[in-house]
């Protein structure tokens, strides 16, 4: 075992009782990756896990407490007994794998549906990157390296990306989301969509995304884990309004 508790590639001891009490999550408000894990824990009826809200603003994601679980100093930092899974999509896949028959099924068995869940789930990570490139431009790029032309290009790329998702949601309705019934694809992507609207995305220009957003807002797992606040962007909350 390394000092971070990360087991490396050797076999780790068997995980004790599969209960939420042996799970803990260090998280930050307004972080789509953290939100994904929380939605999954709700969906799999694993409420009762230990959790601690940390502040990005205060740099708490770089604290010793986090580094012990996640040497990268990032949130979420998730443990289940001795198993540590810090990448959000990985944690969601892990939870579905271990608790498949508990709570809601997040990955269907049938080939066509399953393929679509995996495909949209992975495309959701491209959407995440493109959103971050715009919303957190000032955080990601040092002042001397910033260019209006670069931000403009990132916005155009994001706009094209969002139009793709608008297309994927042509037939969105209650019970019919990114890949049919609510699935891991929605767990990964919905937080991004909420993030986009929080930062000013126009519901008028993206009506299907807006419908998706409002339909799922009421889903218990999403309602229960809704971010108490969102991390601010130096560009303010309307950075996406012109897309």
């Amino acid at each position: 075992m390394t000092s971070s508790g990360f087991p490396g590639c050797q076999s780790a001891p068997a995980v004790p009782a599969h209960m939420a009490k042996s799970m803990s999550l260090l998280w930050g408000a307004g972080s789509p990756p953290c939100w994904r894990v929380m939605i999954t824990l709700e969906e799999k009826r694993l409420q009762g896990y230990k959790r601690k809200l940390l502040s990005f603003q205060k740099g708490e994601h770089k604290s010793q407490e986090v580094l012990e679980v996640n040497p990268r100093g990032q949130l979420p930092a998730f443990r289940h007994g001795d198993v540590v899974v810090n990448e959000s999509t990985a944690a969601c896949l892990y939870l579905e794998n271990r608790f498949q028959s508990q709570g809601n099924r997040l990955i269907p068995d049938s080939p066509a549906e399953q393929a679509l869940v995996f495909q949209r789930m992975m495309e959701g990570l491209t959407l995440t990157d493109r959103l971050n490139s715009v919303i957190y431009y000032d955080l990601l790029v040092p002042e001397e390296e910033r260019h209006d032309s670069a931000l403009k290009r990132s916005k155009e790329t994001l706009s094209t990306e969002l139009q793709l998702w608008e297309g994927y949601l042509q037939n969105v309705a209650a019970g019919s989301y990114l890949a049919g019934p609510f699935s891991l694809a929605d767990v990964v992507v919905y937080p991004n969509v909420a993030f986009a609207f929080r930062f000013g995305l126009s519901a008028g220009r993206f009506p299907k995304l807006a419908k998706y957003y409002s339909l799922l807002k009421e889903r218990p797992s999403i309602k229960a884990s809704w971010p108490p606040q969102w991390m601010s962007s130096r560009q303010g909350y309307d950075v996406l309004k012109d897309l």
Partner: protein, 223 residues
């Protein structure tokens, strides 16, 4: 089964290579495949766009089912063909957790390699900065050190004692790093892992054809 599958791919692309390795491991040889050229822009051809509107490779079809994300294709193949070929998702909780953790940690790894290798291609001349080039190199160095650490004390595989999706997805990235000049002296654990797995049948058989002709560019030699 394999006869209903089609893969459009490009040589030397880790995402394409992953799918090829997975198909071999699951005993799905005999799939239809077509090698396309990135240099000639064939990834943006109508043939690709019809399967993948993003104009990217791999573009994979199984009957009417389409999977263009390499991780999605690999997860699908393992789940749908669990009982044949190599078992790619382990049984135990610790191994499964580690496997998923590593495959998603591999995303920043691949991204950082791309930031260095493709800087001039991605960033227009007027927006380039030496400071950015330096930053990207430092970030990749730090990332490679993390992976050196992950491989410390490892046997032949990234997770436990068997070949898994972690190896399917990550081996091509290490091979790509080394191919582009990555130092085997500075990263001995990565190099050892690479050397151990490169002769695995599924990997040897699908080795990028354009890599056989000669050495690659040494762009990453200072990392």
């Amino acid at each position: 089964m394999a006869k209903d599958m089609t893969l459009l791919w490009g040589s030397g692309s880790p995402p394409c290579w992953r799918v090829q390795i997975a198909l071999e491991e699951k005993n799905l040889q005999g799939y239809n495949q077509k090698l396309l050229s990135f240099e000639k822009g064939e990834h943006k051809s109508k043939e690709v766009l019809e399967i993948n509107p993003r104009g990217q490779l791999p573009a994979f079809k199984h009957g009417k089912i389409i999977l263009n994300e390499s991780y999605a294709a690999c997860l699908y193949l393992e789940n749908q063909f669990k009982s044949q070929g190599t078992q790619l998702i382990p049984e135990g909780a610790a191994e499964v957790g580690l496997m998923y953790q590593l495959i998603f940690e591999a995303q920043p790894l691949a991204q950082k390699i791309g930031e260095v290798l493709y800087y001039n291609w991605k960033v227009p001349e007027g927006e380039r900065h030496d400071s950015a080039v330096q930053r990207n190199k430092e970030a990749l160095k730090e990332e490679m050190k993390i992976w050196e650490g992950h491989l410390q004390g490892c046997g032949d595989f990234l997770v436990g004692k068997s070949f898994s999706l972690a190896d399917v997805i990550i081996f091509p990235v290490f091979a790509y790093f080394i191919r582009n000049g990555g130092s085997e002296e500075r990263y001995p654990n990565v190099a050892a892992y690479y050397k151990k797995l490169r002769d695995r049948p599924s990997i040897k058989k699908t080795w990028p054809p354009t890599w056989i002709d000669g050495p690659g560019m040494g762009t990453l030699k200072d990392i």
